[in-house]
């Protein structure tokens, strides 16, 4: 038997046993076996179109294998048995390929790509929506400010016209009223004197009548003055009312502006809260599906390999686990890091160089930092 070592197949006498853990250290990506690059160079034998993966019957089987596959062969295999064995090996190899691919897909984090793209879309849309909300708020404030200016100008113009009218039309029609006393009647002085008769009694009566007329005129003048004062008081009150109304208008307008501004702020806050909630719900949905897929992958890999895999990849959302195993052997049930130790070292060095170079660090500083991380 020309068994090819290192392909998870062990030979015990004439019995070939599939043992996934036998050559674990020969592969860093998976515990499942893989096909070598050049099967023929590693003693794989091609017969017609079929491979005898790792198996090359050296003699004709004389005893049929048991159903468990763990049985040996007595002295040789028939063609049917060889074909069945080849089929068995082929199916095992296919499962190994599938397990290896799924393992790489899982441990490498490739399955995160679509979810990361979705999360990026959500984040981009969130920024766009946030900008739109901010724009709407700015437009609302602009409208509120401009509307206030227009309304204030319009109202002030109305009151300015009223004040101008009131100033130009002082309502005091009693100001021009003057109570006059008529001229005294003729006392027939000349006529009386022509007959040698004195006019004194006549003059006395005329003076008394004039005095009475003057008293009546004074009373009327007092009445006119009182009415004039009332009219002036009314005009002054009207002017004061106009100013008060204008002050009230401007004050109310300012309060309304404050109210409208507050409404716009509340609307903005509500819109942002709704947006934030929608974004969180979307992200939650994506992460939920990502987690479900990861669980499904892990479950499938476990079923194929018999061990629970460990996801060593980091996702775009920062939910990934730690890096690598530090060169130590993987624990039981864990998938080892895909990268080689050299690649891991190079990666660590690159991570060190980038920030250190950005800070102007020297080569010695880089080396010291690297040694410090490696515990030296």
């Amino acid at each position: 038997m020309a068994h090819v070592p290192g392909h998870n197949v062990e030979q015990s006498g004439n019995v070939f046993v599939w043992n996934p853990g036998a050559t674990q250290t020969t592969r860093v990506t998976s515990q499942v076996p893989s096909i070598p690059t050049s099967p023929e160079a590693e003693n794989f034998v091609r017969t017609s179109d079929n491979f005898f993966y790792g198996l090359q019957p050296s003699k004709t089987p004389t005893t049929a294998p048991t159903s468990t596959g763990g049985s040996g062969y007595g002295g040789g295999m028939t063609a049917d048995e060889a074909l069945a064995l080849a089929k068995f090996n082929y199916e095992k190899e296919q499962e190994a390929r599938k397990a290896s691919g799924l393992s790489d897909y899982y441990t490498g984090g490739s399955y995160n790509t679509g979810f990361d793209a979705l999360l990026k879309m959500i984040a981009d849309q969130s920024k766009v929506s946030e900008g739109a909300i901010g724009g709407a708020y700015d437009r609302a404030l602009q409208n509120i400010g401009q509307g206030y200016d227009v309304a204030k100008g319009l109202g002030d113009e109305g009151y300015r016209a009223l004040n101008t009218y009131l100033a130009a039309n002082q309502n005091n029609p009693y100001a021009g009223i003057t109570a006059q006393v008529g001229s005294a009647p003729d006392a027939l002085t000349d006529y009386l004197s022509a007959y040698g008769v004195s006019d004194q009694p006549v003059q006395g009566q005329i003076q008394a009548d004039q005095l009475q007329a003057q008293q009546g005129a004074a009373n009327f003048q007092n009445l006119a003055n009182t009415l004039s004062a009332l009219a002036q008081q009314g005009a002054g009150s009207r002017a004061a009312e106009s100013q008060m109304a204008q002050l009230l208008f401007n004050t109310g307008l300012g309060q309304e502006r404050a109210g409208y501004t507050s409404q716009a702020e509340n609307a903005q806050a509500q819109a942002l809260a709704a947006l934030q909630q929608a974004v969180y719900q979307s992200r939650f949905g994506v992460e939920e599906k990502r987690n479900a897929l990861a669980q499904e992958l892990a479950q499938t890999i476990s079923q194929l390999t018999g061990t629970a895999p460990t996801n060593n990849s980091g996702s775009g959302s920062g939910s990934g686990s730690g890096s690598g195993n530090g060169g130590n052997a993987p624990l039981l049930g864990q998938l080892v890091q895909t990268a080689t130790p050299q690649e891991i070292l190079a990666n660590q060095l690159a991570n060190l160089v980038a920030p250190a170079q950005a800070q102007g660090g020297t080569a010695q500083q880089l080396l010291d930092e690297l040694n410090a991380r490696r515990g030296r």
Binding site: L154, G158, I177, P185, Y195, D209, L227, L253, Y260
Partner: protein, 144 residues
């Protein structure tokens, strides 16, 4: 309430026309009254002028007045006539003046009422403009 300039102009025109028509009617009535008073005063003057000679002739027929005759009764009678004449004219003139004052006072009150109507309308217009401005502001701010 929306601002309607046509409404205010119609109201202003109505107030002005009403005030103008009433003022013209009252002014014409006042003119007629003054004219009537003037005629009445002229009639009184003519009557007193005609009465003066009759007063003197009455005392003369009774021999109370004449050349070198001047009785006290004649002097008192003539003074009474002059006092009555003065009293009549004084009362008539005072009556005319009181009537004129009443007219002036009434017209002043009507003018005050007219101006108050216009001022009230202007105040209402300013308030309407202010209300319209606030409504426009509310629409601009999206509150309506």
């Amino acid at each position: 309430m929306a601002y309607n300039p046509a409404d205010y102009e119609a109201r202003r025109r109505g107030y002005t026309q009403q005030y103008g028509a009433t003022s013209a009617m009252n002014a014409y009535a006042n003119f007629l009254s003054q004219q009537r008073g003037t005629r009445e005063r002229q009639g009184m003057t003519e009557e007193y002028n005609k009465a003066q000679p009759r007063v003197v002739s009455g005392y003369s027929r009774r021999g109370m007045v004449g050349p070198n005759v001047r009785s006290g009764l004649f002097a008192r009678g003539l003074q009474d006539f002059a006092k009555q004449r003065a009293r009549s004219f004084s009362e008539f003139d005072q009556g005319q003046q009181e009537q004129q004052r009443m007219y002036d006072l009434t017209e002043a009150q009507r003018l005050e009422a007219f101006r108050n109507q216009l001022a009230d309308m202007e105040s209402e217009k300013a308030q309407t403009i202010a209300d319209a401005a606030r409504q426009l502001y509310a629409r601009r701010a999206g509150a309506i």
